[in-house]
């Protein structure tokens, strides 16, 4: 099996992700990560903000559709987010641009 075939196989996953980018697919309570004031799992719905930020977030694996865990909720300030196996520290500007939905 070539890499491309492998990649195609996982496209269903990518589709699922893309669906979530449209906000109406994010049902239930959702809002910016900076406003989420409880520890626990969240699903990322959308990344707003400028192009650079979106790209930087994407390269760190903060993508719509991904599940993440808030380790240190700090309403209105930075927070620790466990995603893709790593722990990210995000400041207020960044976390207010990440729209999440609690799981």
């Amino acid at each position: 099996m070539t890499l491309k075939d492998l990649n195609k196989k996982c496209r269903c996953l990518a589709k699922k992700v893309q669906q979530c980018t449209v906000s109406q697919h994010c049902v239930g309570q959702h809002g910016p990560l900076s406003e989420t004031c409880h520890a626990g799992k969240v699903k990322i719905c959308k990344i707003t903000g400028d192009r650079k930020l979106c790209a930087r977030m994407a390269s760190l694996g903060v993508l719509a559709g991904e599940e993440a865990e808030i380790i240190c909720p700090k309403k209105g300030s930075q927070c620790l987010l466990k995603i893709q196996g790593g722990t990210l520290s995000l400041d207020h500007t960044t976390s207010s641009n990440i729209i999440v939905q609690s799981v």
Partner: protein, 739 residues
Amino acid sequence: MKKPITMALAGNPNAGKTTLFNELTGSRQHVGNYPGITVDHKRGHFTYKDQKVTITDLPGTYSLTAYSVEEIVSRDFLTNNRPDVVINIVDASNLERNLYLTTQFLEMGVPLIIALNMIDVAKDRGITVRCEKLAELLGVQVVPIIARSGQGTEELIKQAIEVAQSEKIWNPKDISYGDDLDEVLMKIVSIISDSSFLSSTYPPHYTGIKYLEHDDQILTLGQKADPVIAQKLEQMVGAISDHLLKTMEVYPESMIADHRYGFIKSIIRQGVLTHKFDIDRLYTSDKIDKVLTNRLIGPVIMLLILFGLYQFTFSWSELPVSWMESLFGWMGGIADTTLPDGPLKSMLISGVIDGVGGVLGFVPLIMFMFFGIAILEDSGYLARVAFMMDRIFRIFGLHGSSVMPFIVSGGIAGGCAVPGVMATRTLRSPKERMATLLTVPFMNCGAKVPVLVLLIGAFFTDHQALYMFLFTMLAWFVALVVAKFLRMTVLKGEATPFVMELPPYRFPTLRGLVIHTWERTWQYIKKAGTVILGISIILWALMTYPGLPESQQDNFSAKRTAISQSYPESIRSELLAYNQETGELSKKGKQLKAELTIIDQEESGAGLRYSIAGKIGTFLEPVSSLAGFDWRTNIALLGGFAAKEVIISTLGTAYSMGEVEVDASDSLGERLVRDPHWNSVVAVAVLIFIMFYAPCFVTVVCIAKEAGSWKWAFFSMAFNTVFAFLAAFLVFQIGNLLG
């Protein structure tokens, strides 16, 4: 001899590149458990079975786009230097995140081998990686290693050399980015291939992806190389970007990243990774973070740890420091009795032993302090400090990435402003970078620490750790206030976002701690024995010559004769016998000796004042006395511009040359306490001036280099000195008013 091979070490921050680099080259590059320690690439050499290898340690990056300086440095190195093989270090305990960079190497088509590091950490977390399966799916060799212990490194080098010597052609891997993007990419690649657009630097497929990712650096290069083609490509990319934004509210680069992660997941799900425990459970590291980075308890714990560090340093080093003092006192005594009187003796005692000895006397303290900092650093706690400080920094107009340069410069104590200034390269916003660059020299670097310890130890004996803690806090406070001032005036600008990956906590190894402590302590000793020794000798000469004019020397001789004449002959011969160590002194004899000593000291004091350095110090005294500094302190402060350690060595020399009641075994601290010019208010004023005045020569040069102009270097010197003087002036005047 075979043709030398070039290798590059690349990987995510904190994946263990520098550890492996040190393991392979036997060098002692600094390794810390926090991201962003390597900003430049570093080169080393080693030989494996007659094969010469040049290896380059690249800065840690998450991707190869032009988002940060580290990424640009790494990418430029790979494209410009084209190493024979790239060793991609992958952290086995965090495979998904690490393989993201791997996919980009595959897209780039560089000769690759994967070093699967930290398999022991992964095992502890219940993670098993099937290397053969991973190698098969990615099409590159995978070698499991533990860089910290060196396990598997020989196999890695053997295989890396094989890859470098093989004739295999490395084509860029084709990864699907979704139908829309794949279609455009195919068109773009064919245009690039047909016109050989940028083909000397990058493979067409890679250039295509970078265009889709809107990579600033490649777009600029493209515009320069062929504006027509570049325009055409940009239009195509613009159209697909608009389409994606309208239909899916995403930019192409997010879509590409999404598919790369999808690709990684598809590989991992094919049995590459097995988890023994529940995937969702929080690791110990996360649990510790819940407490240590807690909004309320976190900062309190941070301050307690910092205070604990100083308490530990002062209480444990007290005895060895006193041993060192006695050692140098004893050496001074030996030199005094064995050497014949003359300039050489004066240079050895006042210049070398009192000067350099004063700096070397603090070696035990520095060692304990570095040991404590090494524990904080190796365990990963410093990264949490950066995280917690980010919020405070933001208030003062600095960036989260400014925290590390501050700590490197001596934020906790014992750093160096030069690497601190260089570490500001991680900041992308020029204004935030400049504000950081200009304020990092306020931290208490390894050279200022002994001065602080000396004065705190002499004037605030009872609460040394507390005062050290307070002065450290003061350094941060002043640096932040000045940064805020700069950001509100000359460096106005918007704040930029801060995102950092926190490394997991690791238990420091004793070997690592010992190496860290020793390498820093050794650098301190080496500097004291070379630069500080040289400067001390020059300053001794400046403090000795031209020497008193003959008429004044005759005056003192006459005074001595007059005093001797006032005593009976028997007492004079008693003193002569005492000086030849053949007799005891009576009460009268002691009195005569004391009176003569006073004349000797007056003469040496007058000589010092008459010397070149003394004249400069005296010239500045009318101004400096407003802040409580006498002319001798002025000499030390001027010397401090060459290197801050010189302040101690010069004070040592100045106070051993012109002291009223000299006793060779007295420490500098004791001499200062006895001096009528010094008291605790003067000590605080001097301390404040030393903490904040012009950075040392090397730092100034470095600021000029990093800021790109001498204007900022001169600004830093002038601004800091004026600010420090005003602060010292206020402290001295208010302190005196309050009594």
